[in-house]
Symmetry: C2
Subunit: 333 residues, 2 copies
């Protein structure tokens, strides 16, 4: 089952059920007005939503044409957005960045940070910045939305709490990362609103692309139409989503509708940009710059600037964009 949230001039938008091929939708408001409402009582609502999807796929309901430009983030505002560090490659590559404390990084427990969740960006929203010199970067990630998880949850409890899967862009202001790390209080200023793909899918609906609590799909990133990276989210993910949830629930319960990010996708390789058609590339600029510094003595890839267009989406084996693409333009305000 695939779901999306459409604009309706309300902060939480309107829940819709999509056809399996993501081309058509039908309103789900008679079951649950919003995705959060569906998640609040998932056991009751999921079967009804699934039945509606089956009707849409069978042609019993005609539905309407799905336009991703009408989609908000699946949860346009969420009660919690936690970003984990599933990929040790990413941390190893950026640890040399000025101000990073990742030298003490251990591989036994994942790092997590609490992100702002009060305004999550729609897949076609502009990326608004007030200063063009903050070293604007993207971070392409897989993410899950979960049901309630008790404090001290086991890995089995964590795994079974995963309700929905998608991809997101954890937008980062690299110039502010060092300050935030220095303060030790978390990435408060360096991490403005995160963007989300228009579609969320249940793990079951992803077939073999969802296994071992990981999304086994390449996530393709283009900057101004040029391929930037296509690392596989299931490769080199040291801590899987259940590990991240267990760690997040160490000292507190997690409420339904909590979003967990897997961290910047990062596959092990030593390529530099520009990547070839079959290359892997990177899911953020900071990693590319670090590898370039090591290879060439200086970083070559610039950070994003106003006017740049960044496109991110997960690719199914048939070449379809599994969750729809985020297509966003950097805009100076």
């Amino acid at each position: 089952m695939k779901l999306a949230t459409l604009r309706n001039n309300r902060p939480d938008g309107q829940l819709v059920v999509l056809s399996a091929d993501s081309t058509r939708f039908v309103s789900a408001t008679r079951i649950a007005p919003t995705l959060q409402a569906a998640l609040d009582d998932w056991t009751a609502h999921a079967p009804a939503l699934s039945a509606l999807a089956a009707q849409l796929d069978a042609g019993a309901i005609a539905g309407q044409v799905f336009d991703p430009a009408q989609a908000l983030a699946p949860l346009p505002r969420a009660y919690q957005w936690i970003d984990g560090s599933g990929y040790l490659n990413h941390l190893e590559r950026v640890r040399t960045l000025k101000g990073s404390k990742d030298e003490e990084l251990q591989s036994t427990r994942p790092l997590l940070y609490q992100g702002g969740s009060d305004s999550l960006l729609a897949p076609t929203d502009p990326i608004r910045v007030t200063d063009p010199d903050l070293a604007l970067d993207f971070e392409a990630e897989a993410a899950v939305i979960i049901g309630p998880v008790p404090m001290g949850a086991t890995k089995a409890q964590a795994s079974s709490a995963i309700r929905l899967v998608t991809v997101c862009n954890d937008i980062s202001l690299r110039r502010l990362v060092a300050d935030d790390l220095q303060n030790g209080f978390g990435f408060f200023h360096a991490k403005p609103s995160t963007s989300f793909a228009p579609i969320v899918a249940t793990p079951e609906s992803l077939g073999t692309a969802w296994r071992d609590n990981r999304l086994h799909l390449p996530v393709r990133i283009e900057v101004n139409g040029n391929l930037y990276g296509q690392p596989n989210a299931g490769t080199d993910m040291h801590f899987d989503f259940a590990d991240l949830i267990v760690e997040a629930a160490r000292t507190r319960p997690l409420a339904a509708g909590t979003i967990i990010g897997g961290g910047t996708i990062s596959n092990s390789h030593d390529e530099t940009l520009p990547i070839k058609r079959d290359g892997i590339g990177f899911a953020c600029i900071a990693e590319a710059r670090t590898v370039e510094k090591l290879k060439y003595g200086r970083a070559r890839t610039p950070f994003l600037k106003p006017g740049d267009v960044i496109r991110i989406g997960a690719l199914s084996p048939n070449g379809q964009s599994t969750f729809g693409d985020m297509v966003q333009t950097v805009t100076l305000v």
Copy 2:
């Protein structure tokens, strides 16, 4: 106007309007079902809620007896909980704690951290811990709930966005603070769910107790019935709430219903515990222990342990608890 959220077996509870003396309430669900719904359209809803409060105070509506034990946190789950550091005394006192990076602390911009807001504790909820040895501490704070604030807001915009005022307990696991600071990713594990007083009040309703974007009331803390501290939240607050909001909105907008904490209340003095009736004391144990170490060579005050009861509330000049008290028992689960 004073508002509260009562239990109704739904995650967001039910919004009620209180009488000025906090003894009676009337349901506000015909205006807005929840506090978040009221905040989403405050301009439309606030006058209607205020009119209802006037009817209750005039006796035109009898109302029902308000029982704080039936109250949830005013926002039982919120889209954002940001805790600031308004009081430099607090940071100066705890900067000597192991692992703290606060040596580089500057007084020109306040520190902020992003707290978990998916499950905020009711004023009478137990404080549940899975391990009795995590150095459980309280942090008594003033807090405000705001309307929408644009990215890059001015201080005037920030000040006018303050909708409601209350007090909270930013529960802290001191033994995990050093690890969290070391990671640099924020207080993820050291800050489990925060507790809130049962009542929120508009700034106007607080009279002279709300001025200069500060709450000028003593906040009284008792541990197991013994007075622990009663610092004034309006004294020595270096960064006021508008300053904290401006800093929070530097790189991103803030949505309606964002809660901003003022940080652990801390007045300048060199007393140690136990405090006398007219003493000031401390609003967290960590500060008391630091002062004790300096004076006596060792910390004397223990952290909270299972069975301990912590009571926190702001005191009006007439001796009333302005927002109602939090009365919570530490419980090992």
